[in-house]
C-alpha cells in the first residue's frame, strides 16, 4: 500500500495554477517536499489532508480517498502548519492535550500522550507556563507536539525550521529524523531550504510552479560527481599547473580548483589527496578545504526547471 498516491492532481485558482497535473506514488519514509515559495507545497498538503478539493485528478493518503474520506485521513495524520498557530494564554500541556482530544483520543489517553510527546520534543518544566511566553524554538516544539500527540501514521510538516536559529534548526531536524527513523512515523517535510531537507530525507519530491520536477531517492540527487573541489588561500593557477603536470584534469577558478577524476585510473584517484598535499607544501600554499564534489539540489532546479518549460 503506498503512503500517498496522486493522479494528475491539478488545482487552479482564478488566474493561478497552484498544482499542474501532479502524479506521485510515495512509500513511507522521510520524504522531502522541496520547491521555492509558491511552488505548490502547501496546496498539495491541504489537498492531501482532504481540506481542499482538487480542480482535477485525485489523491489518496494511506489508501483513503482525499475527496470522500478526509475526516478519516485527518484522524490518522498530523499537521504542523508553517505559520504561528498557538493561543498565547494556555499552557503547552493544556493545549496539546486538548488537541489530542479533538483528534479523538479519550481524556486519559490524551493526558498520558501529551506528557510523553512534550518530553520527546524537549519541553520540560516550561510546559505548564502559558505559551505566550515561549521562545520561537519552544513554540515550534509545541506545534510539532500537537501534530504528534495522537500517534499519527503520517506527519505533514510545513517549513518546520521557519524562524529558528542555526542551533534550533539542528535540533528540529534531529527531532524529525528521530520521528521518522525511531518512532516509525512517515514524515513529509515541506521546505524551500534544500540543504536542510538533504540532511534528513530519504526520498525527495521536487516541485516547481505546481509541476513535478523529480521524485527519487535522495542519493540519486546528491550522488558524487567524481569531481574533487580544492580551495586554497592563494590564486589557484600555480597549483593547477603542478597537478596538471602530474597528469590530472584540472580547472582553476579564482582560489578554487576542480579536479575531474571521472576519467582517471584507480591509482590516480587514490593518489590525488597525497598529490595535493605534496604540491601545496612544495609551493607553500595554504589549503582551505578539499571536498568531493556532489550534485547540488539546486542543479535540479537549474537543469529541470523553468528553462525547460519555456523551451
Amino acid at each position: 500500500m503506498p503512503l500517498i498516491s496522486t493522479r494528475a492532481l491539478t488545482k487552479r485558482y482564478p488566474g493561478v495554477t497552484a498544482l499542474d497535473g501532479l502524479s506521485l506514488e510515495l512509500e513511507p519514509g522521510i520524504i522531502g517536499l522541496v520547491g521555492a515559495n509558491g511552488a505548490g507545497k502547501s496546496t498539495l498538503i491541504k489537498i492531501l489532508l482532504g481540506l481542499l478539493p482538487p480542480t482535477e485528478g485525485d489523491a489518496s493518503v494511506l489508501d483513503l480517498d482525499t475527496a470522500t474520506q478526509g475526516a478519516r485521513i485527518r484522524e490518522l495524520v498530523g499537521y504542523m502548519p508553517e505559520h504561528d498557530s498557538l493561543p498565547p494564554d494556555v499552557s503547552a500541556t493544556e493545549f496539546v492535550s486538548h488537541m489530542a482530544r479533538v483528534s479523538g483520543l479519550p481524556a486519559g489517553a490524551a493526558r498520558e500522550r501529551t506528557a510523553d510527546v512534550l518530553r520527546h520534543v524537549g519541553l520540560y518544566e516550561e510546559r505548564y507556563r502559558p505559551i505566550g511566553g515561549y521562545s520561537t524554538g519552544m513554540k515550534q516544539r509545541v506545534k510539532l507536539a500537537q501534530a504528534l500527540v495522537h500517534d499519527p501514521r503520517l506527519l505533514f510538516l510545513d517549513e518546520p525550521t521557519n524562524g529558528l536559529d542555526p542551533a534550533g534548526r539542528d535540533e528540529m531536524l534531529a527531532l524529525i529524523e528521530r520521528i521518522g527513523r525511531e518512532f516509525g512515523i512517515a514524515v513529509i517535510v515541506a521546505s524551500h531550504l534544500l540543504g536542510e531537507i538533504e540532511r534528513v530525507a530519504t526520498w525527495l519530491v521536487a516541485i516547481d510552479a505546481g509541476r513535478l520536477l523529480q521524485t527519487a531517492p535522495l542519493e540519486s540527487f546528491t550522488g558524487q560527481t567524481g569531481q574533487l573541489l580544492i580551495e586554497i588561500e592563494e590564486p589557484a593557477e600555480d597549483l593547477a599547473q603542478r597537478l596538471a603536470i602530474r597528469g590530472y584534469d584540472v580547472r582553476a577558478v579564482g582560489r578554487t580548483l576542480l579536479v575531474d577524476l571521472t576519467a582517471a585510473d584507480a591509482d590516480a584517484r587514490a593518489g590525488i589527496y597525497d598529490a595535493v598535499r605534496d604540491e601545496a607544501v612544495d609551493a607553500d600554499l595554504a589549503l582551505v578545504r578539499i571536498e568531493a564534489g556532489r550534485h547540488q539540489l539546486e542543479d535540479l532546479f537549474r537543469d529541470g526547471g523553468a528553462d525547460d518549460r519555456v523551451a
Binding site: 489532508l49 520527546h120 500517534d151
Partner: protein, 294 residues
Amino acid sequence: MTASPEQTGTIYDIGYRSYDGPRMGRRGAIGAIVAAGLRASFGLGRSGRSKIIPWGAVILGLLPAGVAVAIRVLVGDIVDLYSYENYVWGIGGLLPIFIAAQAPELVVNDLRHRVLPLYFSRPIGRFDYVAAKLIALSLALLSITLVPVLVLFLGRVLAADDLVGAFGDELGALPAIFGSGILHAVVLASLGLAICSLPARRAYAAGAVLAVFLIGGVIGGTLEEVGGGLQAYAPFTNPLSILDGTRQWLFGGGVAESPVTGADVPLEVYGLASALLLAVSLAVLAIRYRRVTT
C-alpha cells in the same frame, strides 16, 4: 531555558510509545470542543479573576430565586416576588454581561492566533467547530436562563405542605420553563458568538456585545418614552425583548415591565423576529468561518 532531566529528578526515557486505543473521531472531537468551551465559559482552569464575572452572574441570577424560596419557606405563599414568566426578564441584564465577558473567550483567540488550521486538520469540519462552540455557550447560558427558574420551581414544590399535590400543580409550568430557557440560551449564544467572531481582539468583542445590547436598550427606552406609533418598534431594538415577546407568543404570560406589553404588536411578529435574529447570526458565523483559510 530547558531544564535537564538531572535537575528535575528522575525521568526515564522509555522511548516512543505508539497508541492503539480507541479513536472517537468526529463525535469525540465535537465533545472535546464543547467540554473545553464550557470550561472556558465559567473560567475553569483559568485565573481566579476570570471566574468573577461568570460566577458572579450565575450567583446574582440565582439570588432572587433563593430569596423567593426562602420567603416561601419562612412566611408562606402570601407574596410572589417572581413568577416563572417574569424571572428571566427580571435578571435579563446579567445575560449581556455574561456573554460580553465569556463569548470572546470561546472564539476570538482561535481566530486571532490562527489556531483554527490545527482544528481543521483533525477529524472535524469547520461547521462542526462552530456548532460545538454554539452548544457550549448555549449550555453555559442555561445557568442563567433555566437553572434559577428551576430552583424557583423546586422551591415552590418543596416548600409546600403537600409535596405531591404541589408537584402536580406546578408540573404544567415545566415545558414553558425549559422552552423559554432554551430559546433564550440558543438565540443569545448564536448572536453573541456571531458578534464575537468579527472583532480581532477579545476586548473589542466584549465591547461590541455590550454595545449591541446597551444601544438597543437605550433606543428602545427612548421610543417607549416618545410613545405613539413609535412605541411599537421599541421591543425590536433589544434582543431580550424580542425573546420575551417570542416567549409570550409560545408559552403565554405577560411581563409588566417588558416593552412588549406596551407595544401592542401581534406576538407572532416576535417569533418571526427571533427566527430572523437566529438566522442572521448563523449566517454571519457561516460566512465568517467559511473565509478562514486552513
